[in-house]
Amino acid sequence: MMRNRILGIAGLMIRQAVRSRFVFCLFVLMLSLLVGFALTIKGDGTVAGRLQVLLSYARGAVGVVLGIASLWLACGAFSVEIENRRLHLVMVKPVRNVELWIGKWLGIVTVAALMLTVAGLFLMGAGTVALRRTAPDGVDGRTVRQQILVARQRVEAVRAMGEAGEARWELDCPDAVASGASVSTLQYRFVSPLRDQPPIQVHWAAVDANGASLFEADCEAYMDGVNRLDIPAESLPPGERIALVFGMRVNQPDTPHHVTFHPEYPVELYVPTGGFGENLLRTLLLMFCRVALLAALGVTVGTVFTFPVAVFASVAMIMATLVTQFFVFSSACEPGCGHEHHGEETTPQWVEWTGEHLARGVQCVVAPVLHYRVRGRLAGGVAVTWDEVHEAAGVLVFMYGGALCALGCGALRRREIALPV
């Protein structure tokens, strides 16, 4: 019964979006963006570089366009219908507010899901083209296959006590390694004020819990930028704890005798756990959860305000959410690190105190929303896990979406929709 009514309202929403040519415009805009990127992006000249930039830009652009479009559509779902009095006829039918809210939201997210599917097919196609254009054993082909069109689980190594003169990290290898995967990648950075220095000689070893050697390699590392080391996938035991041991080979007088690992970029191991297709699907699902939340926000705000004000209020809320992050970050900076001021502080103390606590309060509420990010992961071949997708669905769609739904239904119950305008 309830489902029937919800589906009816969702169907109406989709029909309107299609027939008002909203979906068509969105489709054309998105496709022209994707095709435009595919035709204009050059990257670093290699297929891998081009693919990486394309995946990154295309995913970002699709996220932004779909986010804005869904928010736009959602803001008008109630506000426009209240304004042109179409909702009167629906509200006098035996429909509950919650059914109406969910129906509208469902219609919008269905349109978004359709668009995400189109984007997914395009990105899949781009991946397939890149595979065809590169030889599996070439440098470009290996980068495409081992670092981009792959789902690699990121495992952060934890610093452990090592013997004198050695640096040691421990990590748990993932339970399953993708069949056919050839290499895992170790990634690390040093702290260095120097740029463009010649590489240094380093030694890496992997040992199991009993101290038995699993892998050893001498390689070059750069003081600035990201260093990567390929480790044969079969040498890492799935599901077991291993230790990574770092040492330096000082063989030239002008090379540094010691290095400092970057505190903000931990030592990480990227282990291939799946293919690009599944990772793309999970990335799109994560994006879908975010779009669904935006749609929920728009629908709820639209129950309270007129259309333009609803759009504006929603965008303002999103901006405020992002700005609080900046405030919290900047308030965490140590005072006194700047320069001397003449006279009073620029900002009065009480303003800083109130602002900081306000920002922290808002941050508490919105932090989970900002937690589920996909930026750079698809293009970097970093796996989005099913756990993340489930968690995002639970938090973004059910928890926050549910809260917004409750707020929207409450507003709808209180609102007199037939007030003279």
Binding site: R15, Q16, P94, V95, R96
Partner: protein, 309 residues
């Protein structure tokens, strides 16, 4: 239907609606202490000039506005109750329908909100489209409709659930005279079958034809209420209807009245009102040239069928 709702379908006590400004200060009292009781099968008309509070009253009865004071009991429940809304049909003042849908899709959509089965929806949709004379425009988007066509579709959606209470805001507005007549005949037929009807109208002739009772509102307050007979009857004069007489016959009749009853009397030729004349002309034309207008007897039969009457 329980005993209470069997006799009284709508009970409004001291209903008041005050519209407020941004600062929550009272701006306009649209309805002021309205008492109204409507029994099953009655057709009650709310009359009044613009801004007298008719539409506001209707919107409060349907839960689209919240009363500032007073209580509403509608079909034994509150306006917000889903179970109550299941038994109400509503035609708003301006038929605000989804402009991108066709008439069929519109009725199928509203049917879905009433939880009608697919087969039931299809059947009722087809019948109502036929009956409201929209068969020729069945695949056109509602946005392209004229006001009259949109009104017919609005009426069709109001009848979709075979309602126990039909609330109509200016039901004949935008309709051609034939359409007006059909609507009025339909409403009468519905009332005869037990449907309660509450309507507002500016057209007094419409109300006079169909309403059992009227409430005349002005400035938000009821100024007169009662059956049409009670309200319109004049104590002082009577009318005598006879077949057309020639001049001599007329003179004899007047002499007779003056002599026997000792009163002033006059004689004039009986005439139809314009609507009756228009309907007779169109009916005559219809006999030779079929038009797309629906037939009210069909609608009555439809409602009789879906309600098992």
């Amino acid at each position: 239907m329980d005993q209470a709702t069997n006799s009284t379908v709508l009970e409004v006590v001291q209903l008041t609606k005050v519209f407020r400004d941004f600062w929550r200060r009272p701006r306009v009292t649209a309805v002021d202490g309205l008492d109204l009781s409507v029994r099953r099968g009655e057709i009650v008309g709310l009359l009044g000039p613009n801004g007298s509070g008719k539409s506001t009253t209707i919107k409060m009865l349907l839960g689209l506005l919240h009363p500032t004071e007073g209580s509403i009991s509608i079909l034994g429940g509150r306006p917000a109750d889903v179970a109550v809304r299941k038994r109400i049909g509503y035609l708003p003042e301006d038929s605000t329908l989804y402009r991108y849908l066709t008439p069929r899709e519109t009725l199928m959509f509203y049917g879905r909100l009433f939880d009608l089965s697919v087969a039931e929806r299809r059947q009722r949709t087809a019948e109502l489209i036929e009956m409201t004379g929209l068969s020729a425009a069945v695949d056109r988007a509602v946005g392209e409709f004229s006001k009259g066509m949109a009104r017919r579709l609005g009426l069709a959606q109001a009848l979709l659930n075979a309602p126990d209470l039909l609330v109509l805001d200016e039901p004949t507005s935008g309709l051609d005279p034939m359409g007006c007549r059909q609507v009025k005949d339909l409403l009468r037929a519905l009332a005869d079958r037990g449907t309660t009807i509450l309507l507002t109208s500016h057209l007094l002739a419409d109300v006079e034809h169909i309403c059992d009772r009227v409430v005349i509102m002005y400035d938000g307050r009821p100024r007169a209420a009662g059956t049409l007979q009670n309200l319109l009857e004049t104590e002082e004069r009577m009318t005598v209807n006879v077949p057309t007489l020639d001049a001599a016959g007329t003179k004899r009749l007047l002499d007779l009245l003056r002599k026997e009853l000792d009163c002033e009397a006059d004689v004039s030729r009986a005439s139809m009102n314009l609507e009756e004349f228009f309907v007779s002309v169109v009916k005559e034309a219809k006999a030779t040239d079929a038009s797309g207008h629906g037939d009210d007897s069909q609608i009555a039969a439809f409602l009789c069928k879906v309600r098992g009457g």
